[in-house]
């Protein structure tokens, strides 16, 4: 018998529907977005540098095309995305192998969770990523 139930899967809204939810959910979403951004940059980077095989003129033309202020800001965003993705990746690698989340415990209300247990690490990740991004920003400003 065909189901007459109505589909109710949140889809992509489930990533960003974090208005009243946890901090780690934002990190999860940001990690995915920065990952996709880095992938897009990587593909573009391969395309631009591959013009070198067509000769110096093509290379210069390609480099001129990506030298405007918009691309400078874009490059900085790539760097900031890299800073977050790398540092948060270390956090995830540790947690996803069962470290820093503690052993199973007796659930006594108010419940302590693995999310709370690793929260200091999550905060530290944001601080370290922020410092790296800031340092990179100063570097970008002084170089240009």
């Amino acid at each position: 018998m065909a189901s007459r139930a109505h589909p109710n899967r949140l889809g992509i809204r489930g990533w960003v529907g974090g208005g009243r939810w946890g901090f780690e959910r934002y990190l999860y979403t940001l990690h995915r977005i920065t990952g996709l951004g880095l992938l897009a940059y990587f593909l573009m980077h391969i395309f631009v540098t591959s013009t070198r095989v067509l000769g110096p003129a093509s290379w210069k033309q390609a480099m001129d095309a990506v030298s405007g202020p918009l691309f400078a800001v874009g490059e900085y965003l790539v760097f900031a995305a890299f800073a977050f993705h790398a540092v948060n990746g270390v956090r995830l690698a540790l947690i996803e192998h069962g470290f820093l989340i503690g052993p199973p415990i007796e659930p006594i209300y108010p419940y302590a969770t693995s999310v709370g247990r690793q929260r200091p690490l999550a905060v530290a990740v944001m601080i370290v990523a922020g410092v790296i991004a800031l340092w990179g920003g100063l570097d970008f400003l002084t170089l240009r």
């Binding site: 189901s3 007459r4 139930a5 109505h6 589909p7 109710n8 899967r9 949140l10 889809g11 992509i12 809204r13 489930g14 990533w15 529907g17 208005g19 009243r20 939810w21 946890g22 780690e24 959910r25 990190l27 999860y28 979403t29 990690h31 995830l92 947690i95 996803e96 192998h97 069962g98 470290f99 989340i101 503690g102 052993p103 199973p104 415990i105 007796e106 659930p107 006594i108 209300y109 419940y111 302590a112 969770t113 693995s114 999310v115």
Partner: protein, 277 residues
């Protein structure tokens, strides 16, 4: 002087009648709030006073059966475990758990979750089928071994974790927090020998490796089960097993008969109530 008028709130309830409605719609009902009133109590009032056809699942009214999981003010919770006063809003929005199809109004179709749960064989897997069918004694287990899985055994299968998980939201093939946590509950049980069998199911792309610790399942779990922890511990076990670093022990044996203890004063066991054979 305090306002003596009874406080009322609006219950904004998601309605869907299969065969009649094209898509779910919101419906508002004014409800008088009494001290200690739960969202489930409020739904009963709505049903009694203005919407007799309103449908939902509920049973025990004390957070044990796991039937009344709903999306309450944007967060998956048990309706019987959530007091209207604690929400602190004038409008209480109640919808069915997301990431499950809607059967009617607030009733989600939980079958996909339970089918995955069944596929992961949530019971003790052992070779001694005769002993399991007709037990002679309990399997021996230390308190420390019990603690390895006890937290995960409190799961009431309400589906709140599945509704909160952002990966389940976009990936219908992902096993999800509840079935995975329950697989870990048995994998970490010293009486179980089914790790290898479950690993075959879990090692695919729809298993624990799809989880990236958004942590929402653990935040919303009404029983403190912490499915996110169970899934990360499962991943560690799978990696350690691959690297041959996981301790492999035979499943716990049947406990020996007590000896050296005084038996005086302990009455004999009552006769069997189920016929043998």
């Amino acid at each position: 002087m305090a306002d003596a008028r009874p406080r009322t709130v609006t219950f904004r309830v998601r309605r869907f009648e299969p065969g009649r409605d094209e898509r779910p719609r919101w419906e508002d009902h004014r409800v008088e709030v009494t001290p200690g009133m739960t969202v489930l109590d409020g739904l009963w009032k709505v049903k009694e006073q203005s919407a007799p056809s309103l449908a939902w699942r509920s049973s025990c009214r004390m957070g044990i059966c796991g039937s009344c999981g709903m999306l309450i003010d944007g967060r998956p919770r048990l309706a019987c475990n959530t007091q209207v006063a604690e929400l602190g809003s004038e409008v209480v929005a109640v919808g069915p758990l997301p990431n499950f199809d809607i059967v009617k109004d607030l009733v989600p179709d939980l079958r996909p979750m339970f089918e995955t749960h069944r596929d992961l064989r949530p019971y003790l897997l052992r070779d001694d089928t005769e002993e399991q069918d007709d037990p002679t004694r309990e399997y021996w287990q230390s308190p420390h071994e019990l603690e390895e899985y006890l937290q995960f055994s409190y799961c009431i299968k309400c589906g709140c974790c599945m509704a909160a998980c952002p990966t389940v939201a976009t990936d219908p093939h992902y096993a999800g927090p509840m079935p995975l946590a329950q697989a870990q509950r048995y994998d970490s049980d010293s009486r179980d020998a089914g790790f290898g069998e479950r690993r075959e199911v879990l090692s695919g792309g729809d298993g624990p490796w799809r989880c990236h610790f958004a942590g929402e399942c653990s935040q919303v779990c009404p029983k403190g089960v912490d499915p996110a922890k169970a899934i990360q511990l499962m991943k560690r076990d799978l990696v350690f097993d691959l690297l041959r670093l996981r301790r492999r022990k035979p499943p716990a044996a049947v406990a020996e008969a007590p000896h050296g203890l005084p038996r005086e004063g302990i009455p004999p066991a009552p006769p069997r109530t189920v016929p043998e054979g």
